[in-house]
Amino acid sequence: MFWISKTIHYLSRFKRRTILFFAVLGPGVITMVADNDAGGITTYTVTGAKFGLHLLWFLILLGPVAYYVQEMTVRLGAVTKRGHAEAIFSAFGRFWGWFSLSDLVMTDWLTMITEFIGMTAALSIFHFPPLLTVVICWLIMGMMIMSGRYWTWEKIALLFCAINLIYIPAAFMVHPSIRDIAYNSFVPHFPPGGFTNDLFFLLMANIGTTIAPWMLFFQQSSVVDKGLNEKEIKFGKADTAFGAVLTVVVAMVLIIVSSKLLYGLPIEDAAAAARQIMPTSSIIGTLFAIGLFDAGLLGAICISLASSWAFGEVFGWAHSLNQKVREAPWFYAYYFFDLLLAGTVVLIPGAPLVLITLFVQVIATTLLPAALVFLILLLNDKKTMGEYINTTWENIANISIVIIIIVLSTMYGISTLFPNFFSIH
């Protein structure tokens, strides 16, 4: 009889924890899936077209990297009940505060433009004019926040995350070799040809897309807006881990598809990849284009919110998705201003869109190291974190990861400015 009562106890505990997990599920998954934005989709597609399946192992390694960094924002948000921008102002003073806020605004705005570029390119495959695409995006993003409930916004965002998984059926349709996938996933090696400039640039690009500055600000603010507390940190961590798995799966699937259908072709971006795939398989090409549009939309939603939350926190405006437009007018005004400005730039004939895409990486390079260093310092501040301070193991893992990200993303930023700076002869 004892084992029956014990089993019932475990089952009810499991049920309770599962319900709690699904209640907390949101910020981690949304941040991680949105990380595979229009720029990310392009990076993975180009990686697969250039190097086939050979870099799958590298992408798997990026999953834990993203998890360890983002997990810190969950703890910081749940313990301090402050967004990242406010936490930086409070802990490091006005100089670093203004630096971070202004850099975030610039990076986010430029990244938003790249998302709109991705979305207009994706829908142009279905003969949608750019103006119509931009207006559709504005309407979707406007309607998402009009309910005045964080819960509603989050569920719609999770739906867009689910659409991001549209690439998975595409991978099955190209009939990849399971043996090749398994080998390339678990045996680290360089592609034939060795360590070349192209390989080096793509490795850096993949790292660069794994952690973006907006992700730190967005996840911490969404954790605060959702109202997560210290007791729910473990579920927040599970949410982040689940998101990290999803982001790696989508990245792997993209590499599998592009390695099978686009290997050796000079692919410049994901929209060009979708166009290239269309004659071979219209279904896969269509899935690719829908996925690209969804990725851009999800990225734009999160990025514009990251900036609005940051401004609201620092300027002391009402800044919650649980407030209606009339209750938090400045918060929503900034959100719409960001959207309108980014969308309009894409519509300007002759706008330097390629230059903007390159410049994003350079500007992000100036903000990311600072944001990551602040994160580590705050997580080690006993006064701020109390018992949730970083453990020795967490510090070893987090500091190593942060150093690697800073070095590689800096190299990526510099090589964007000076393409031959790290030439391998």
Binding site: S90, A91, F92, R94, D381, K383, T384, T410, L417
Partner: protein
């Protein structure tokens, strides 16, 4: 005009509120902030160099 003066007033308040860093300024924190400043100066230097070479070229 009123909006502009409100924003300026707001920025003054923020500067006053966050005048002093709240984090404990241990030698490690000070070192990190110094390295960050040098890193950013280096990057700005590279950006200026790129701007000048592009402009001249």
């Amino acid at each position: 005009m009123r909006l502009f003066s409100n924003i300026v007033q707001n920025i003054r308040e923020i500067n006053h509120r966050y005048e002093k860093p709240q984090i404990e300024m241990t030698p490690f924190v000070k070192l990190c902030l110094l390295v960050l400043r040098l890193y950013l100066l280096g990057l700005v230097g590279l950006l200026i160099f790129k701007f000048i070479t592009t402009w001249k070229g």
